[in-house]
């Protein structure tokens, strides 16, 4: 459990000081502030609360809040940092231009029928965004009609994401952010999501096998797992770590630990072991001058994987051919 606690998209582009140190600080905070621990407890014991729903108002454990106006202002400021498209998360904002179509088209292919309302192509899908950070991925998916649950192990990110979400009343009801890990979610939400999106998170995880297993268990049979991450190659060490962090300063130094990177073959093996068949693997390339991502053949640095969980109840599962021309290689 502790291993996956470190799942944190903020670490990806947050500075060493703000990111890594913060994560440690936050863990410490979590131990100190019993209130927030209580919230986790509430989450886990959700089923019990449901059972007592008739007496809910009196029975519900009272959570004292420590948030005051001052703190809200602080988080509002942090939220502006996350959502500044020219700020420290620039590359992550730019990534939306390819990863949202990747998820959208992947899900549409999964369903196989065109959406009723083209403005809400993902209506009816429930998506789990693992490592939701400031909500960069969750909000666009919600705007496309999906119901999104964003989980993040860092309490601060949850608050930041929620503050930003409140600005857009059209999607505010379609996103839930929870301070939790994938293990926490498994307690109540096993096989409950049409899709699990693990974007720029897997490269921060120590125990890949366990993490992927949890992710796969959260997906409904027939549902999808979308992963974008970094390959474990010499190229990814030189370009993804040394160039990006030391030379071009696209990311703060210390963002990535190359040892935690995972090659696509290993990822596919893990997905396969957990009953998920890989539908496609795409390489991704960041043009740091144009600040644009594009799909490429070569997967030696960044890559994206779409896997579909085998539905054992249906014979022969979904037809292969439907996924042949899968999505987004524009």
């Amino acid at each position: 459990m502790a291993s996956v606690m470190s799942v944190c998209r903020r670490c990806l582009v947050g500075s060493l000081r703000k990111g890594l140190a913060n994560a440690i600080k936050n863990t410490a905070n979590r131990l100190n502030h019993s209130e927030w621990k209580n919230i986790n407890a509430v989450l886990i014991t959700k089923t019990e609360i449901y059972r007592n729903s008739s007496t809910i108002s009196s029975e519900r454990p009272v959570v004292k809040t420590t948030i005051d106006e001052e703190e809200l202002r602080k988080f509002a400021l942090l939220s502006q940092q996350w959502w500044d498209e020219q700020g420290e998360f620039e590359a992550l904002h730019a990534l939306n231009q390819i990863r949202i179509p990747f998820v959208r088209d992947g899900l549409l292919n999964q369903r196989g029928i065109p959406p009723l309302d083209i403005t809400q192509p993902l209506a009816g899908f429930s998506v789990l965004d693992v490592g939701s950070g400031g909500g960069l991925l969750a909000e666009p998916l919600a705007r496309l009609g999906a119901f999104v649950v964003g989980i993040d192990a860092v309490e601060e990110n949850i608050k930041i994401a929620q503050i930003h979400l409140q600005q857009d009343h059209k999607i505010a009801g379609k996103v839930k952010y929870i301070e939790a890990t994938v293990e926490d979610m498994l307690v109540t939400e096993e096989e409950n999501f049409d899709a699990v999106v693990v974007s720029e998170v897997a490269e921060h995880v120590t125990d890949h096998a366990h993490f992927i297993e949890c992710c796969c268990r959260l997906v409904k049979p027939g549902g999808s797992v979308f992963i974008t991450t970094l390959n474990k190659t010499q190229a990814s060490y030189f370009l993804g770590v040394l160039m990006a962090e030391r030379v071009l300063h696209l990311l703060p130094a210390g963002t990535h630990d190359w040892n935690k990177f995972i090659p696509p073959e290993d990822l596919q093996y893990l997905l396969d072991k957990n009953g998920c068949v890989t539908r496609l693997v795409h390489g991704m390339c960041y043009n740091f001058l144009a600040k644009k991502w594009s799909w490429i053949q070569n997967t030696s640095i960044n890559y994206a994987v779409h896997a579909v969980k085998i539905d054992s109840t249906k014979s022969g599962t979904t037809s292969e051919s439907k996924f042949k021309n899968d999505s987004s290689s524009t």
């Binding site: 919230i39 949850i158 409140q166 952010y177």
Partner: protein, 471 residues
Amino acid sequence: MMAATIVRKCSLCFATARQLKSLYPMSRRLQTSSSDNEYVADIVISGGGMVGAAMACALGHEELLKHKRVILLEAAPKREFKLPEAFSNRTCTLSPATVKLLNSFGAWEEIQKMRCQPVHRMQVWDSCSNSLITFNQEEMTQELAFVAENDVILEGITRRLDAVKDKVEVWYKTKGKQYIIPGVDSSEDNSWITVHLDSGKTIKTKLLIGADGFKSAVRDASKLHVVSWDYKQAAIVATLCVSETENTVAWQRFLPTGPIAMLPLSRSISNLIWTTTPENAKYLLQVEEERFVDAVNDAFWHERDMNSVAVSVGNFLTDISKNLLQGDTSSRQLPPTVTGIQAGSRASFPLGLTHSSNYVRSRVALIGDAAHRFHPLAGQGVNLGFGDVTCLRDVLTKAVYDGSDPGSLSYLVDYETQRQRKVLPVIATIEFLQRLYNTNLTPIILLRSVGLQATNTLTFVKDRIIKEATS
């Protein structure tokens, strides 16, 4: 309000509900439309001129944007338009690309129902030499462009705006008084744009489109860098009566004081746009109408500026190309004689260049003259404005289909890049031509007449120019 709704509805977990509840004071502050005078929109377009109205219309007719609330702010009141007998002196030359855009939301049909004149051929020539260039599609069957009055174009678009009333609201007699733009005015904690209107109302919007002309208030509020200069020239417009049977040719002659152009409006009516010195313009506005007609005829016909060197070199080159290249040099036509002027149709306006170094910033996009305004010598101004509309519509549609906020800079930058790639070469060419023809120096006259002659001979170059100018 919203937080409370979620608390009630929350099906997933109470933790979220609790956290949201604790955020309630914050969310209430961020929530909009708390009072009657506060409105929320997805896209606000400031300025309901031809380009602004076309933008609103294009967005309103886009299927993917049907759930977006678009508000168009127009300072003028809604007018009851009835096509007048007399032609207006303000016209535009619409390129095929513009026609395609207007067609995409049905406005072109409305314009054709009223009136517009096709242009089958263009002839551009120099007053200092015999060099000329002509543009026409083969056999003159296909239109190079259309000339239409500004009023007619705007009415055509307005009619189509009425068809999407439920999606696009047009607020007449309304003007933005103050624009609060995040990143410029950081005092606001809301990251949307706030528009304070002169009517006392307030709109919060995700995207503000500035279509408010070359003195754009949106551009000023966004603190975008602007390059501008004055041409020290004035343009005179007038509605002319011409003796012509078909009248489908656009004529332009370069005089040392500036180009004079005649654009067909109907079988016997043409529109004049004459660029000249401010002093001459003042004189031409004052003289009697008969004297003005004489001056126009003289400007198209006189041979006072002929440069003997350029003429003889030109003739020599014509001979060569006739004999060796068998190029297309013989198609010189004579412009029609101006017989009269529609009473009171003379007007003048100063000319200048204004170019915004950036067309976008987060949550702001500039279109039309707000982004770029330059010399009217090629009649490209409004076409580039309509080009902005087409491009911005496509970019916003893509952004929305990708689930992005329409004000997202990542997408708006695509609009800027695409448009500047198109607009900057056009401005550079026009500035070059403007300077090239605004002189009496023999070497330059020689150079330009040879250049024009050569371009006229080389068909593939001409085809390329037509393609560039019409796309």
